[in-house]
Amino acid sequence: MDFERIIFYIFAAILVFAAGRVITVRNPVHAALHLVLAFFTCAGLWLLLEAEFLAIALVLVYVGAVMVLFLFVVMMLDINTSPLREGFVKYLPIGSTVAVLIFAEMFLVVGSKHFGREVVAIPARHAADYSNVRELGSVLYTDYVYPFEIAAVILLVAIIAAIALTMRKRPETKYQDPAQQVLVKPADRVRLVRMKTEQKQ
């Protein structure tokens, strides 16, 4: 076994362990943290594949942003976990059927029939000056520019839709309008009163 393979097995073991803990651990915060660990080790495995751009993007997007928001929400929720675990036996048949179906589909699509050694050549190791970022960019903005743009537009629509769904007028909330705050004059806030007693003196 060479050095890289040892690293691969260590990372793979951590990844499988963390992924398993995500669904077995009882505390949702711990589950989210295990998911973070899973993403991070997955990024490590991608680095071994010489896909450094994707590995860093995975850490940046999923670990650095998505999971932070996840944790943010999960920590604030007051989840009582015991009702969630009720009916485990009741849902076991349908759950296991779905799991088997998903596994079968994945096996058919990414199984050895399509990605085996006979079909796909073993990727060649690139020289040290090989730039993964540049290669990815040159493919993404030439051959796949339309699919790329369509994906971007779909994401944009999703963002706008998410904002539109959560934005509703709530008359009971009070906002501060900084523009109005800045425009305030002393006369709006203070009324100077001259009193009779004052004028006598």
Binding site: L33, E52, I56, V59, V63, G64, L71, N132
Partner: protein, 376 residues
Amino acid sequence: MTDTVLRKSYKTHWLIILLVTAVFGTGAILLGVQYWAEIKSIAILYALIKIILIVAPLMGAVAYLTFAERKIIGYMQVRIGPNRVGPRGWLQPIADALKLLMKEIIVPTNANRFLFLIAPMMSIAPALAAWAVLPFTDTLVLANIDASLLYILALTSIGVYGVIIAGWASNSKYAFLGSMRSAAQIVSYEIAMGFALVGVLIAGGSLNLVEIVQAQQGSFLHWFWLPLLPLFLVYFISGVAETNRAPFDVSEGESEIVAGFHVEYSGMAFAVFFLAEYANMILIAALASLMFLGGWLSPFEGTWIESWFAWVPGIFWLFAKMSLMLLFFLWFRATFPRYRYDQIMRLGWKVFIPITIVWLVLESAAVVLKIGPWFD
């Protein structure tokens, strides 16, 4: 919990640590023996020495940055600052470090022990790991990787976990409020920061920090601070917000939530958070100098006095620029009152992000039209 149970739990705790160290130690030694030839050839030892050569001065810089902070803010407020330990107070940071080392680490009851102790490490590890790709001159860099800018952005975005986990694991309302504030703030400012970096990589034409600095060659006016002035300001202010420094230090907010996320920490566990904060400050200062102030390039380049300063090594200019940026960090703290929380969010989302987007469009136009002297 009675006394005996406590002692027992401490004993098992040590046993577990001993066991894990033993297993990993033997594993490492076995691996080392088996792959000795490879270790020598890929120069792991050499890399380790280089890492120590970066981290040790960094820790020293962190220690003396705290001293500088207290002194400079002292002078700004017409005080003297620490002047009792050693000549003119110069041994103060060492005394502080010793004091923190001696103190007991108290883990609150009902705190999640594992997460409570791992949170400071989660906070300092990215702050140190980011230094791996930081170039000091065009040849002096530990790992000159292709996407170093992206790597730094990814690692600085992980730093927030230390804060979040610390707040949650402490099992304290103040700590939790602090971590919630901090998480929202860091995620919001990361977007503006990322957009500012996009501007830098458009101008530099690369994700590699060495190439970004080399693209600024020419003169003082060729540095990216001038063509990217709004992005520079947005980046630096976002950097202040990302490191939870004043005036954006609502996650600590002493007057409202005592000390925020690290209120339950004591001794060395607290000191590690402190180290991480200052290491991040130095990192932001270094990045700002590399990306906008020409890094190791001399400020007199292209002028008639350039040859007078030819003997000055480039690393000196980098350190001078970093010191200037760090001075701003301290100056902000002495000058501005803390922002209100909704104002922070407004500044991040409604001011900075539109500014960066508008400037990115203008800059892209300038690059496409090859507007000189920067983009020709």
